[in-house]
């Protein structure tokens, strides 16, 4: 086994989260969900509501993917695969949604 492999594996072992780390991430997810629900009941203007919910949702998704799905410490190829899937879905469906929204604007 090469020195680089041993180094990488020991770094992975060192970085591997403990049960307490997982509980901390869960508590963070709970707090963020609580803030999301509170945001729903506070009378915020729609753009501010959508903006704050989008930020909170993104942080929650990052926490689940990075910590629970181990993307933070796992092979970078898995992260790239997943990000490619998400990016592809976002781009394809944004184009689709804009097409539907713009459809009525033009007289084809």
């Amino acid at each position: 086994m090469s020195d680089a492999t041993i180094e990488a594996e020991s770094a992975e072992a060192h970085d591997h989260p403990s049960d307490l780390d997982y509980v901390k991430v869960f508590v963070a997810l709970l707090v963020l969900t609580g803030i999301e629900v509170a945001t729903f009941f506070i009378d915020l203007p729609t753009p501010m509501l959508i903006g704050s919910l989008a930020i909170l949702m993104s942080v929650k998704i990052y926490l689940i993917a990075a910590w629970f799905m181990h993307l933070r410490i796992d092979n970078r190829l898995f992260s790239r695969l997943f990000i490619t899937g998400i990016s592809f879905a976002v781009v394809v469906y944004l184009i689709m949604l804009s097409t539907f929204l713009l459809w009525d604007q033009f007289d084809f």
């Binding site: 492999t5 997982y22 991430v25 709970l30 629900v37 729903f40 898995f78 879905a89």
Partner: protein
């Protein structure tokens, strides 16, 4: 010509499947490719919902019918199941099989509670006049959340298979990666619910 040492796959680590030519587990790679493709499936269903959510016809609208406190509890249950799933993996990696079995069973139970909540929610909506064919909004809503529910149910079947394998002594520490792969699927289902809860439920106020 490449050196023989660079062609040989590295040896498998304890608790991991035999790595393929890429140097990583083929099973895990396959699960990540599958999850990447699932992003497109759920992306399509969420986009369809967004297109049709204002088309309630004479049925109840999203803003009138959604019960946010109830759905918040469902979200809590699913988030809790992600924690128990990762604790099951942690236990089996340490070789603590009784605890791993307990966490696997707890995860499946929490998943079943979530599904029970979804069945209750669907039944309530139906009684309030929102059937599958009531409006384009209702069809898009039931299809999206129904597909998610099917994914949770498949996850429960996988978790129970792992539990039964463990009880029979077939799930050893060397098979920890099998638990990790099922865990990836389970966390992805949780991640999709985070999206659904925010995009479908929490933005329904103004509709």
């Amino acid at each position: 010509m490449a050196d023989t040492a660079t062609i040989e796959a590295p040896p498998a680590k304890a608790g991991h499947h035999q790595p393929g030519a890429t140097g990583m587990s083929n099973q895990k790679l396959a699960m990540w490719v599958f999850l990447a493709s699932e992003c497109l499936l759920f992306g399509g269903l969420i986009s369809t919902y967004l297109l049709y959510r204002d088309t309630s016809l004479d049925g109840p609208t999203a803003g009138e019918i959604f019960d946010i406190p109830f759905t918040s509890v469902s979200s809590f249950v699913l988030l809790m199941s992600s924690l128990t799933m990762v604790l099951a993996l942690s236990s089996i990696t340490r070789g603590d099989h009784p605890r791993a079995r307990l966490w696997l069973l707890t995860t499946a139970l929490l998943g079943a509670i979530f599904i029970g909540g979804q069945v209750y929610e669907f039944t309530t909506f139906y009684r309030e006049g929102l059937g599958y064919t009531t409006s384009p909004f209702s069809s898009a809503f039931f299809t999206l959340t129904g597909f998610h529910g099917v994914h949770v149910s498949v996850g429960i079947v996988m978790l129970m298979s792992l539990y039964i394998s463990s009880v029979r002594g077939k799930l050893r520490t060397e098979n920890a990666e099998t638990v990790e792969i099922v865990g990836l699927y389970w966390h992805f289902v949780d991640l999709v619910w985070v999206l659904i809860f925010t995009i479908i439920y929490l933005t329904a106020r103004g509709i």
